[in-house]
C-alpha cells in the first residue's frame, strides 16, 4: 500500500503539472493573438490594367512654343500608349489646366478623372535658339513629384526629347528602363510580289523619320544592330553570293566582313561589339564562326556535319544560342562561347529557328513552325517555360527591345497583294501593335538605347 501511495503521488503531480501546463499553454495562445497589434495581410493579387495617366500639353509662353509643347505631349502619349502599360487619358476630360509647371497641380481635380499619374511640362526657345523642355511627373494620390527633368536640344530634335521624356516616365513608374528613344533598322520591300526591291532602312521606334540606307541594287537581309548602336551588320548578295557587311550609320561607310570561300549567313554582334558571330556554309554543311573585328581573326566554334546557324550571344557574352538540325529537325541549342557544352534546349513539337537572346538575359526568343502555323515564342535558357506569344499564317524574325520586354517581328499576309509588315508584341502576348512603315517591311532589328 505504502509503495503504491508513494508511487501515486509523483504520478498525480505529473498529471497536475501537465494540467497546469495545458492551462498555461491555452492562456499563452490567448495572449499571443492580442499581442500582435497590427494584423498582417498579404496582398498577392492586383490588376494588370494599363495605368491611367494624364499627359497635359506642355505649355509655352509663345504660340510656337505651345505648339511644340502639344506635339511633344502627343509623342509621349503615343509612346506610353503603345507600350500597353499605360492608358493616357483624353485631354477633354482634364479639369485642371496647369500652366506653370513650378506650381503644384490641384491633385483632387486629377483624382476625379481617375488619373494615377500626371505629366506637366513646358517648352521654351532659348536666346541661342535651342529648345528647353522641362517636365514633371506627379503621383496624383501620393501628391508628390516622382521625377522632374529638363532637356536642351535643337528644335529639330523635339521628337527625341519627347521619347526621352517618355522613357523617364516609363522607368519611374514601371522600374524597367524605357525603350522609346531607339531606332529600328529593317528591310524595306517595294514593288510587286516576286520582284521586290529590298533596301535597308532605318526609322524611329514609333515609325517616324524613315530613311533608306541602301540603293536596292543588291538584295539585303538580316540587318543587326551593334550594341554601340552606331554600326549595323547585315547580309548582302553581291554577284549572287551572300556576304556579311558592316555599315557605319554615322559615316555611311560599308565594308565586307572577311572574304570567305563559302557563303556567310546570319551575322550578329557580340555584346561588346568587338566580334561578329555568323555561320559559314560549305556544301550542305554550315558551322558557326566568330570574327574579331580588329584583328580579323576567324575562330571556328562548332564542327558538326549538320547545319548550325543563327547564333546569338547571351548579354554577358558567355554563351551562344543557335539553331541546328543535328537531331533531325531544327532545334534551339545553347553552348559556351568557346563551343563547349553544346546542348539542346527546345523539345516541343515542330521545328525551331532563329533563337535570339534577350538583352536582359532571362529569355531566348525563337520562331517556331508547327501545325502549319508560324509562332513567335520565348523560352528560358535552361529550356524551361516555353511560351508562345503570337501565332498565325506567318511570323518571323523576332528582335528584342533593349529592355527585354517587347519584341518586334515581321508578319507576312497571304495573297497577291499581301506582304510583310512589322509588328510589336510584349512579353504578355496581349499587346500586339502594328508598326507603320511607308512600304512593306521585314527583318526588323531594334537598336539599343541611343546615347
Amino acid at each position: 500500500m505504502n509503495q503504491a501511495i508513494q508511487n501515486r503521488k509523483p504520478g498525480r503531480r505529473l498529471a497536475r503539472f501537465a494540467g497546469l501546463l495545458a492551462v498555461a499553454v491555452v492562456m499563452l495562445a490567448g495572449l499571443a493573438v492580442p499581442a500582435k497589434a497590427a494584423l498582417k495581410i498579404e496582398i498577392t493579387h492586383g490588376n494588370m490594367n494599363p495605368l491611367p495617366i494624364a499627359i497635359t500639353d506642355f505649355s509655352g509662353q509663345q504660340a510656337k512654343d505651345a505648339a511644340a509643347g502639344a506635339d511633344i505631349a502627343g509623342v509621349i502619349s503615343n509612346d506610353l500608349d503603345r507600350s500597353g502599360l499605360f492608358k493616357p487619358l483624353a485631354k477633354a476630360s482634364f479639369i485642371d489646366k496647369p500652366t506653370d509647371i513650378n506650381v503644384q497641380p490641384r491633385f483632387a481635380d486629377w483624382r476625379i478623372i481617375n488619373a494615377q499619374a500626371l505629366v506637366t511640362g513646358q517648352v521654351q526657345v532659348q536666346p541661342d535658339g535651342r529648345l528647353k523642355v522641362e517636365f514633371r511627373l506627379w503621383d496624383v494620390y501620393g501628391e508628390q513629384q516622382l521625377v522632374g527633368l529638363q532637356f536642351f536640344t535643337t528644335p529639330q530634335n523635339w521628337r527625341r526629347v519627347a521619347h526621352l521624356v517618355a522613357d523617364a516616365i516609363y522607368q519611374r513608374l514601371t522600374g524597367e528602363s524605357g525603350y522609346f528613344d531607339t531606332r529600328i533598322v529593317y528591310v524595306s520591300e517595294a514593288g510587286p510580289k516576286g520582284k521586290r526591291v529590298k533596301r535597308l532602312a532605318i526609322m524611329d521606334q514609333d515609325g517616324y523619320n524613315p530613311r533608306l540606307l541602301t540603293d536596292g541594287r543588291d538584295l539585303v537581309l538580316t540587318p543587326r544592330f551593334s550594341p554601340n548602336s552606331q554600326e549595323i551588320t547585315y547580309l548582302s548578295y553581291h554577284n549572287n553570293r551572300p556576304r556579311v557587311y558592316l555599315l557605319d550609320l554615322e559615316t555611311g561607310q560599308q565594308e565586307v566582313v572577311g572574304d570567305f570561300p563559302g557563303m556567310t549567313f546570319a551575322p550578329r554582334f557580340s555584346p561588346d561589339g568587338q566580334r561578329v558571330v555568323m555561320s559559314l556554309q560549305k556544301g550542305g554543311n554550315a558551322d558557326i564562326y566568330t570574327m574579331d573585328l580588329r584583328t580579323r581573326r576567324v575562330t571556328r566554334i562548332t564542327n558538326t556535319a549538320a547545319i548550325d546557324t543563327a547564333p546569338s550571344y547571351s548579354p554577358d557574352g558567355k554563351f551562344i544560342t543557335f539553331e541546328s538540325d543535328r537531331g533531325g529537325t531544327q532545334q534551339v541549342y545553347v553552348m559556351n562561347a568557346d563551343g563547349s557544352n553544346q546542348h539542346r534546349i527546345s523539345f516541343g513539337k515542330g521545328s525551331y529557328a532563329t533563337p535570339v537572346w534577350s538583352p536582359r538575359g532571362d529569355l531566348i526568343a525563337f520562331t517556331k513552325l508547327t501545325g502549319g502555323q508560324f509562332q513567335i515564342g520565348v523560352i528560358s535558357p535552361d529550356g524551361s517555360g516555353e511560351r508562345i506569344l503570337t501565332s498565325g499564317y506567318h511570323n518571323e524574325g523576332p528582335t528584342w527591345a533593349p529592355n527585354g520586354r517587347v519584341l518586334m517581328l515581321f508578319r507576312e499576309t497571304p495573297g497577291a497583294s499581301g506582304g510583310p509588315n512589322l509588328w510589336s508584341v510584349d512579353l504578355t502576348g496581349y499587346n500586339e501593335r502594328k508598326v507603320t512603315t511607308p512600304t512593306f517591311a521585314s527583318d526588323p532589328a531594334w537598336s539599343p538605347l541611343l546615347e
Binding site: A29, I43, T44
Partner: protein
C-alpha cells in the same frame, strides 16, 4: 495504478501537444485565389466565435423580426432600388426601413434580428425583402457591427431569441404602428452598441477578422493595385506597408513603408509607389466596424509573385 497514471500523463501530454500543434495552425491560411465572390457575403458569419451573446443583442433581433412584418406596408414608400446582393440577414434591415424616414437607428437593431430562425415568415420576408433593401439605413457602419455580433450568437441562443422575440414583439409592433417610435428604438440601438464594445473587451477574438473579411479586404485591393510591369523581374519584390485606419475606413495617417532600405532599386521603388497609390486610392475601406480593434492597424505585404507568372 501506475498504468492509470501513465495513461493519464500520456493523455494530458498528447492533449497539450495537440493543442500546441493545432491551435496556431488556423492563422496561416494563405490567400484564396478568387475572393471577389465572397465580397457580397455577409462578413463574419463563419469565423465569429464569441462565447456568449448578451441578452440585449438577442432582444434586438426579435424586434427586428416583428418589425419586418409591421413595416412592410410602409416600406413601399421608399423606392430606392438596391442590389439584392445581401443575404437573408439583410432582409431584416429593410423591415426597419419603413420607419426609416424618421429614425435611422431603428433599422440597425432590426438588422441584428435578421437571423434565419424565423423561417416561417420567409415568404413575407422575401416579398418585403426587396422593399426593405431599398430602404437602406444610412448609418451602415453601425448595423454591420451588430450583425457580426448577432451571427456568433445564432448557433447557441436560438431558443433564447425566440423567447425574447415573443416578449418584444408587442412593444415593437406598437412602435411600428406609431411610425414615430424613435426613442425606443434609439435606446435599444445604444444598448446594443454598448454591448458590442463590452464584448470586444471581453474576448480578444471578437476583433479578429475572419478569413472572409480579410479576403474582402484583399478584393478591394485588387481593383486599386496596378502591379508594375517591372515587378516581373524581381522574385522577392515584397513591399511592406503599415497602415492606420479610422473607424470609417479612411486612412488615419499616411501609410508607412516598412522596408524602405531598397528604395534605391528602381524596381522596388516603382513597386512601393504602386502599393502606396493603391492604399490611398482604395480608401475608404469597407470593414466590419465592430471589429475596429482588429483592423485599425494593418501591415500590408504586397507580393506580386502570383501575378506575374507570364
Amino acid at each position: 495504478m501506475r498504468n492509470g497514471l501513465y495513461f493519464s500523463v500520456a493523455l494530458h501530454v498528447t492533449v497539450i501537444l495537440l493543442a500546441l500543434v493545432t491551435l496556431p495552425a488556423p492563422k496561416v491560411l494563405p490567400s484564396i485565389p478568387s475572393a471577389v465572390a465572397v465580397e457580397l457575403v455577409d462578413i463574419g458569419d463563419v469565423t465569429n466565435f464569441k462565447k456568449s451573446d448578451k441578452p440585449t443583442d438577442k432582444v434586438k433581433a426579435p424586434q427586428k423580426r416583428i418589425v419586418k412584418e409591421t413595416p412592410l406596408p410602409v416600406a413601399p414608400q421608399q423606392d430606392q432600388p438596391k442590389p439584392v446582393e445581401q443575404k437573408p440577414e439583410e432582409k431584416p434591415e429593410p423591415t426597419p426601413a419603413p420607419p426609416e424616414p424618421k429614425p435611422e437607428p431603428k433599422p440597425k437593431p432590426v438588422e441584428k434580428a435578421e437571423e434565419k430562425p424565423e423561417p416561417t415568415p420567409d415568404k413575407v420576408e422575401d416579398a418585403e425583402a426587396e422593399k426593405v433593401k431599398k430602404v437602406e439605413p444610412k448609418k451602415e457602419d453601425e448595423p454591420k457591427p451588430k450583425k457580426a455580433e448577432a451571427k456568433p450568437a445564432k448557433p447557441k441562443p436560438t431558443k433564447d431569441k425566440a423567447k425574447k422575440k415573443d416578449d418584444f414583439d408587442p412593444t415593437q409592433i406598437a412602435a411600428l404602428l406609431n411610425k414615430v417610435p424613435d426613442k425606443k428604438e434609439k435606446t435599444q440601438s445604444e444598448e446594443s452598441t454598448q454591448a458590442v464594445s463590452n464584448d470586444q473587451s471581453e474576448s480578444s477574438f471578437a476583433s479578429k477578422l475572419s478569413m472572409t473579411e480579410i479576403d474582402a479586404f484583399r478584393a478591394q485591393m485588387v481593383k486599386c493595385w496596378t502591379v508594375p510591369a517591372g515587378a516581373a523581374n524581381a522574385a522577392d519584390l515584397i513591399v511592406q506597408i503599415e497602415v492606420s485606419l479610422n473607424k470609417d475606413g479612411t486612412l488615419a495617417s499616411p501609410p508607412q513603408l516598412v522596408n524602405s532600405a531598397r528604395l534605391s532599386d528602381p524596381y522596388f521603388r516603382a513597386a512601393a509607389d504602386s502599393a502606396m497609390r493603391a492604399i490611398r486610392m482604395c480608401q475608404p475601406y469597407k470593414m466590419p466596424a465592430d471589429k475596429y480593434d482588429g483592423w485599425k492597424d494593418l501591415e500590408l505585404d504586397f507580393n506580386p509573385r502570383d501575378m506575374l507568372g507570364g
